[in-house]
């Protein structure tokens, strides 16, 4: 019974002892150090790249767009982004050329001796900017993606509704601040270009290499080195860095390593999409939601990257976990000349869930209802449908989930205590707020069907089994839970299971490590591959008392030199139907559900907000490893509090200006409350032993829960995050007159 057990992280000892070798720890003879020559402006035409003659450039390897063997395109969803800008640049710091040298210091100093002359073109920095022809850079109107989700006939309802409540909510960019910055190593070995580095998706990297080099897959080998945090920041970007390293290694005929320092990593890599969300809601006198119109506008940055799917997840989550028969959600992601925005934990959902959960509190105030009562009247019940028409079939009782979370937080008592405290204290204000939300596990819509993920489980000659997937462990515990799932299914101890290092030369493509899909989707495939392995061994029960390990050893003894491999490939369950064209149907095989409650204290001397208590209750199906699951929740809450109150990306010419940890503030331990984590377990039919996804859910709720609490404490109406003390002071002075 290893599922549900607190198995210590399999990678824990190596990381504690410092023996885990991150890409920058890899020692390789004759390695060159690569750096990037970047655009000095947000948009323009490249006139010249000038190399200062004071430097002997013959000592350097130099690569530009002419060195690409294949098309100058980075293959992601689209191919609009060049690997190295050739004639035009679309964002500040866009890569134009690469140089490498034996000495990391010499190559860094040489950067100052390269000058890029660019004739500026007019940039767009705000996706709301009215378009004139010279600003158009993508399609007919700079729109990367449009999505409409329609249910019922909202327009007809608004005319007769007792209440119509409107609101606009704005969320900012966010930097991942993984501990390990981006790094990549490329070299030739065994007639292949080998790329090793920090990444979430080895097969995405492989696809990008095959495309840009116009070579078959077996010309490359992509290996994930231990990853010091990803949070989505290593989903799309490593493809670009891998092609850069490979181009230099190819031209130099020597190994090349790129390791960004913190400043470069913050300044040039993707961030969370900033979003602006408008709600218009019709409600009856009892507070029942009759109709919703939601419009979601995301800033995509300079190239498409993953924006269409971020928008997709964002719009699907935009109506929250509520019953409403008439909905129209319209979403757009538009180009700006900012650093391309990319994947970040939550992938569009934190933005739209912030909006709906703030808006629900605004509606409650308008109707004179307690925000908890408003939610109780509207939370989904079995048989209700979500915005896409997906039927809510879970056994989860969302009202009970809400009431349990409020009970753990002592909500009712705290509310009355705060009223007394706030009436007598000179400058401290206390409040309690919460958010109800969901997160879909796995790729959206038909995504998992297209991925057709494959997983292998191999019986080794020594009797152990090896789980072979492309799933990467970036600190979240993938390796450990996949071992637990296999051990559980095969009836062996987790010590008898090892998990292969993701390496495209020896693991199958089980899809990327993103989208809260590993536990549920890949975990289920691990179970199926175990079943296939067991079938090849023959039914265990029929062969007396021999253990699975003995049986595997016995199998090998009889067939020396052969491979014993159980396989599984994703097949869409018949119960899941999705219409991509109309955005109708089952958007996700399963949703995880949660209610988070935050208590805050606001100091009206400094307008600083401190979160003083936090309850996170979630229904994530079967919990595979309680300690790891709790860690995911606590980390997500910390990151969500950061997004709500501290982390402000200051942009200058569309690029991050405060690209240092002294000026981009993430909360530290002293800023965080006790984060009290509770699980409700309702097994899902689609995950291993009923597990669902958990990676992203915890960052969806903290921002609205905390900001709702701030609004209760101060009576300010906050519509925008991050909400720094400076922002709250401004709002306070606008709403209450001069300080």
């Amino acid at each position: 019974m290893s599922i549900g057990a607190d198995i210590p992280r399999l990678d824990g000892a190596a990381k504690l002892l410092g023996t885990a070798a991150f890409v920058d720890d890899e020692r390789i003879a004759g390695v060159l150090h690569g750096v990037t020559i970047r655009s000095p402006v947000a948009r323009g035409r490249i006139r010249a790249i000038r190399f200062d003659p004071s430097i002997d450039w013959s000592q350097f390897t130099i690569v530009d767009h002419r060195d690409l063997p294949g098309p100058n395109q980075l293959r992601l969803i689209d191919v609009d982004m060049p690997v190295l800008a050739a004639t035009e640049v679309r964002y500040k710091h866009e890569p134009i050329a690469l140089i490498a040298h034996r000495s990391p210091r010499a190559v860094r100093e040489a950067l100052h001796a390269v000058h890029v002359d660019v004739d500026p073109l007019p940039p767009v920095f705000d996706p709301r900017t009215p378009l004139t022809p010279e600003l158009i850079q993508y399609g007919a109107d700079n729109v990367f993606k449009r999505i409409d989700i329609r249910k019922g006939d909202p327009a007809a309802v608004f005319a007769s509704a007792a209440y119509v409540i409107e609101g606009e909510y704005v969320t900012g960019a966010q930097e991942h601040v993984y501990l390990e910055t981006n790094g990549m190593l490329a070299f030739h070995a065994d007639n292949r270009l080998v790329v090793r580095g920090s990444m979430q998706c080895p097969y995405y990297v492989l696809d990008a290499l095959t495309h840009a080099f116009a070579r078959p897959r077996d010309a490359f080998r992509v290996v994930q080195t231990p990853v010091g945090g990803g949070f989505g920041g290593k989903e799309d970007f490593p493809s670009l860095l891998a092609v850069h390293a490979a181009l230099l290694a190819e031209k130099a005929g020597r190994p090349v390593k790129f390791v960004y320092d913190r400043q470069e990593d913050m300044a040039v890599t993707p961030k969370r999409h900033p979003a602006r969300i408008r709600h218009r809601t019709a409600a009856d006198r009892d507070g029942r939601l009759l109709a919703m119109e939601v419009s979601v506008l995301m800033d995509g940055g300079a190239y498409v990257t993953l924006s269409p799917v971020v928008l997709s997840r964002g719009t699907i989550h935009a109506a929250g976990p509520y019953r409403c028969e008439h909905i129209h959600i319209h979403g757009e992601t538009r180009l700006t000349n900012s650093t391309p925005y990319g994947a970040f934990r939550g992938f569009g959902a934190p933005q739209t869930l912030f909006a709906i959960e703030r808006h629900m509190d605004v509606i409650a105030d308008r109707l004179g209802l307690d925000p908890a009562e408003l939610r109780r009247r509207n939370l989904l019940k079995p048989g209700d449908t979500l915005a896409t028409g997906q039927v809510f079939r879970d056994d989860t009782d969302l009202v009970a989930l809400l009431d349990n979370a409020l009970m753990h937080a002592d909500y009712t008592k705290k509310k009355s205590e705060h009223a007394g405290f706030n009436a007598q204290h000179g400058y401290m204000r206390r409040g309690i707020g919460f958010a109800c939300f969901q997160h879909g596990s796995g790729f959206t819509g038909a995504g998992e069907t297209y991925l057709a993920s494959e997983v292998w489980v191999e019986g080794l000659p020594d009797g152990r089994v090896e789980v072979q997937t492309a799933q990467t462990d970036m600190g979240q515990g993938t390796t450990t839970i996949l071992a637990q799932i296999a051990a559980d299914r095969l009836g062996v101890s987790t010590d008898a299971v090892c998990v292969a290092q993701p390496d495209t030369s020896r693991v199958p493509n089980s899809g990327p490590t993103v989208a809260s899909r590993t536990a549920m989707v890949v975990g289920r495939l691990v179970e199926q591959a175990c079943d296939d392995l067991a079938a090849q061994l023959g039914a265990f029960a029929a062969q007396g008392t021999a253990s699975p390990g003995e049986r595997i050893r016995d199998w090998h003894a009889r067939r020396p030199g052969t491979t014993l491999r159980g396989r599984a490939r994703y097949v869409k369950p018949d119960t899941i139907q999705w219409d991509e064209k109309h955005y109708r149907g089952d958007a996700y095989a399963g949703f995880a559900w949660a209610v988070h409650v935050a208590e805050v204290e606001v100091d009206l001397r400094t307008f600083a907000t401190r979160v003083t208590d936090y309850v996170a209750l979630q229904e994530i199906g079967r919990v595979v490893n309680p300690t790891l699951a709790r860690g995911q929740v606590q980390g997500g809450v910390a990151q969500g509090i950061g997004w709500a109150l501290y982390e402000k990306v200051a942009l200058e010419d569309g690029a991050m200006k405060n690209a240092q940890m002294t000026n981009y503030i993430i909360p530290g331990c002293a800023d965080l409350p006790p984060i009290r984590v509770f699980f409700d377990e309702q097994p899902s039919p689609y995950g291993p032993r009923g597990a669902k996804g958990i990676g992203e859910l915890p960052i969806d709720g903290p921002a609205p829960a905390v900001i709702n609490a701030v609004c209760r404490a101060t009576r300010a109406v906050v519509r925008e995050i991050p909400m720094t003390p400076e922002d709250l002071m401004e709002l306070h002075s606008r709403q209450h007159g001069r300080h």
């Binding site: 320092d261 000026n663 002293a670 800023d671 400076e726 002071m729 300080h739």
Partner: protein, 276 residues
């Protein structure tokens, strides 16, 4: 880059007399920020680490607390006699960086670096600290409140070294310090203020609100004259004449001014309705 390591104070002063480009380095906690990006070709450092016997001692004499130039924040935090008479030194020291910085960073270095955000300086000015400077030409003392002449500009001549900081012992009945950073620890000050009342009267000293850490003399005068504010705006109108805050990456001028006024208004020593 050049590093000179004298073995006694006299040698250090000789070196300084002979080379106006030398930068003294003690804890290195300011110098090493952005070290990889800092141009080093013309950097000449005077390493003070061998002068510990002459520059580190910290002592309480009849008249003064004297902090030798190599006294660290941690030395002060762990020196029991300070807690009673100069508690703000400990308050401030505990809010500098993290423990690693507190054990390396020195009070004299904080003075010498001349950052407007220096956390050690407001409390020392509030205690009427003097800077003892030494050179081949002799010794002199400069009141810390007059030490700065502009942004990163000080009265120290190129051949002078800070030898010690002296804080007079007095009867004092108000000691109050508040640092506002963007988070609880490991944060650079957005606005900070130290207030002391004693035999010498009121001292109100603010950091991160002007090109250098400064006394708020109009606020001090208002307190001397028995001010009785009815709201923070009243203090804002006074303190606005003492400071010149700016908008930067860390905060806004408006925030700095307002918060300084509000901190003072709600402070426990302030007469008025806030503490009624």
């Amino acid at each position: 880059m050049r590093v000179l390591t004298p073995h006694c104070l006299s040698e250090a002063l000789d070196l300084l007399a002979g080379d106006a480009t030398l930068t003294p380095v003690a804890g290195g906690t300011d110098l090493l920020v952005s070290w990889p990006h800092r141009p080093k070709d013309n950097l000449s450092l005077l390493d003070l680490s061998r002068l510990h016997a002459e520059l580190a001692p910290m002592r309480m004499t009849d008249g003064h607390l004297e902090l030798g130039a190599l006294t660290t924040y941690w030395d002060v935090i762990t020196y029991a006699p300070i807690a009673g008479e100069f508690p703000l030194l400990i308050d401030a020291a505990r809010q500098v960086g993290a423990i690693q910085i507190q054990t390396r960073g020195t009070w004299a270095g904080n003075v010498a670096n001349a950052s407007p955000a220096a956390d050690g300086v407001p409390v020392m000015i509030a205690y009427d600290a003097e800077v003892v400077l030494g050179s081949r030409r002799g010794r002199r003392t400069v009141p810390l409140c007059d030490y700065y002449t502009g942004y990163k500009q000080t009265r120290r001549a190129a051949d002078e070294l800070i030898l010690a900081i002296r804080l007079p012992r007095q009867r004092r009945d108000v000691h109050w310090f508040h640092k506002v950073g963007a988070r609880q620890a490991q944060a650079i000050t957005k606005v900070g203020v130290a207030v002391v009342h004693g035999e010498a009267g009121w001292r109100v000293v603010a950091n991160s609100v002007a090109p250098f850490v400064c006394r708020c003399r109009n606020m001090e005068a208002a307190l001397e004259s028995g001010l009785h504010p009815t709201g923070p705006e009243e203090l804002r109108a006074i303190v606005v004449r003492d400071i010149s805050p700016i908008d930067d990456l860390r905060s806004t001028a408006d925030y700095r001014l307002n918060v300084l006024a509000r901190l003072l208004y709600f402070a426990p020593f302030m007469p008025g309705p806030a503490n009624a």
